[in-house]
Structure formats: structure tokens, C-alpha cells
Symmetry: C2
Subunit: 194 residues, 2 copies
Amino acid sequence: MTPEFIAPVELAKAYRLLNHGPTVLVSASHDGTSNVMAAAWACALDFDPPKVTVVLDKSTRTRALVEASGSFVLQVPTVAQLRLTQAVGSTSLAEDPDKLRRAGVQLFELEGHAGPFVAGCSAWLACRLVPEPHNQQAYDLFIGEVTAAWADTRIFANGHWRFEEAPPEWRSLHHVAGGHFYAIGAAMKAEPEG
Amino acid sequence: MTPEFIAPVELAKAYRLLNHGPTVLVSASHDGTSNVMAAAWACALDFDPPKVTVVLDKSTRTRALVEASGSFVLQVPTVAQLRLTQAVGSTSLAEDPDKLRRAGVQLFELEGHAGPFVAGCSAWLACRLVPEPHNQQAYDLFIGEVTAAWADTRIFANGHWRFEEAPPEWRSLHHVAGGHFYAIGAAMKAEPEG
């Protein structure tokens, strides 16, 4: 079942979901265990096929699930998910097995794609791990190839974010430190040289 | 000479200059040639010593300067530099030797640090290239260790951005595609679980 308003994003435009630097949620699942963490250190790496980088500390349970399953999802949380984002970024599944429920995370699946996906986000990128053991060990740096992407069409449509037309609680979150975030702000266009 | 309002940022807090995902300017210099390009694909990689990643396409002149000099600077441009940012991101020094002047770029140096630095930005991170030939060749992915950082104290002070107290033209820029940017927006704090 695909939740209402979720539509595929053309792979060649998937980088646009991350290009403005939002803090993301990283989700992964293996052998019956699912987890979600927040990551400000996620970034586009290539256009087509789209690739991404994400830093996953050795202490995180999500990292182990990514390594075991070979896949993960990056998703873009909204201002409405501020508390959820901070909660999954500051608690560990190892310490609190009830972490996801307590943080208010609802997971869903998309048929034919490795999940899980976090409900209520504005965009989702399903990624296949591109194994790079040296990067993973030395830098905690993981590379993924985006195999499919989706967005909530009320917030991203026709290859463009529509933050300026959507309710403010759907804007992306940009973490600085210690629970201090900024929402994305005003749209602006650089005019070509005259 | 250190321009007015520029103060060092403690290395352990340098990641905060990039954590909210701004589009940056990458500058490098070698053998009398300096260049500046825009990059949305730059990201923090580690806390202390701070490291960063940045994607530098093989077609860019800046990449060659980084490879030859072993150093680069990441700096955070402001809304006031929207046109400059788009200009240095869409023209090549190879095609237009007068690129920097035409884009309105003013460079300065900081004694004891490899530059050049772009005037008018809100923050600067001087980086030493950490050579990783496989990443550079396969992914255009460059890793830098931040050796020193500075910020304009009117926009970043005591380890925190002060966008909400500063004029709107000093906010950071977040590129989506084709000259479409967002400025960073409203500050928000996630309260701890009650």
C-alpha cells in the first residue's frame, strides 16, 4: 500500500531531495529488527545514477542493520517531526528497545523495496549500500546508490520543493547542535548574469 | 591582516558551521592561480579533529588546485552573495580567466594559513587535503581535515549561529538546482522528552 500523496521522484532528480542540506532520518531493517536514527551528515554524491553519503557512527544500532542488510533509507523529516527527529537522534535502540514507539515513529513498507520507511516525512530515498570497507572503518562514511525515490507531492512536485506554498510545519529541518535546529526559509532565484 | 568581525572558531565546534547543510564556496590556490567554485555537496565528516567531505568534479579547475596544493578552504556564503555564488558555480576559470573579478569575488589571506579566503562570507574552514586516491577517482569525493576555522561574529558567536538576530541578507544559502536557492529560516529547539 502506498500512502496517499506519495509519488515517485525521477531518479535523475533525486539529488534535489538532499541538495539543500536537510537533516535526514536513516532507517534500516534486518532479521526482524528495524531502527531509525537522525543524521545531519548526509549528502548527495552523484546525479545519475544518484548516490549519497551518510556518516554512521560505530555506536549506532542502525549502522549494524545497514551493514547486515546492505540497504537503508534516507528520508527528510518535517518541522512537525521536530521532537521525533531529536528523539531518534538522541536515544539508542540498544538502551531502549521501545525507542521507536516512544519517539512516535510509524513505519511503512513500499512493495518491492527494502525499507522500512518513516511515515510523515516529505521525501524518501531507498539506497543500496555500495560497500567501501576502508571508508566505513576509517571514517564511518557509507555510500549508497539510490535505487528509488519518492516525495509527498504537496511538498515536492515536478522536480522542485514547494516549501513556500506548503504549510510551515512541512518545511525541512537543519540541525546545528544539541537540539537547536533551523527550518528552511525563503525561496530565492539567482538571475543569470545580465 | 584579519578583517574586522572575523574571529577564530574553536576546532571542536567547527562542524557547526556546516551542520545545517549550507551551500559552500570552495577556494584553492596553487602556483599563482586562485579559484573559487560553489558546492552544495559538502558535509561534516568528524568532530575532533574536524573533517569534511566535498565533491569536486573532474571538470573543475578548483579540483586541480586542491590536488596540487593539498589544501582548500570551505566558506559559507550569505544571501547578499546569491549572485556571486551562482556565478562562481556556473562559470569555469578555464573558459573565463576573468571569472572571479566578473563574479565580484574579493579574496583575502590569513597569515599562517593556506588560502585564499573569500571576503563577505559568514564562516571559513581552512582544510588540509587527506589524500584518498580511490575516493577522489571513483567518486570525485575529497576529504579534508579542518586545521582552523573562523566566523563573522555578527552571524556566528559562542558556538552558535545567530541568523535570527542578524539582518536577513546574512543568512546561509541552500541550493536546490538551476539557481533556485532557499535561505535558512526560523530557529527552533527540540525540547527534551518530558
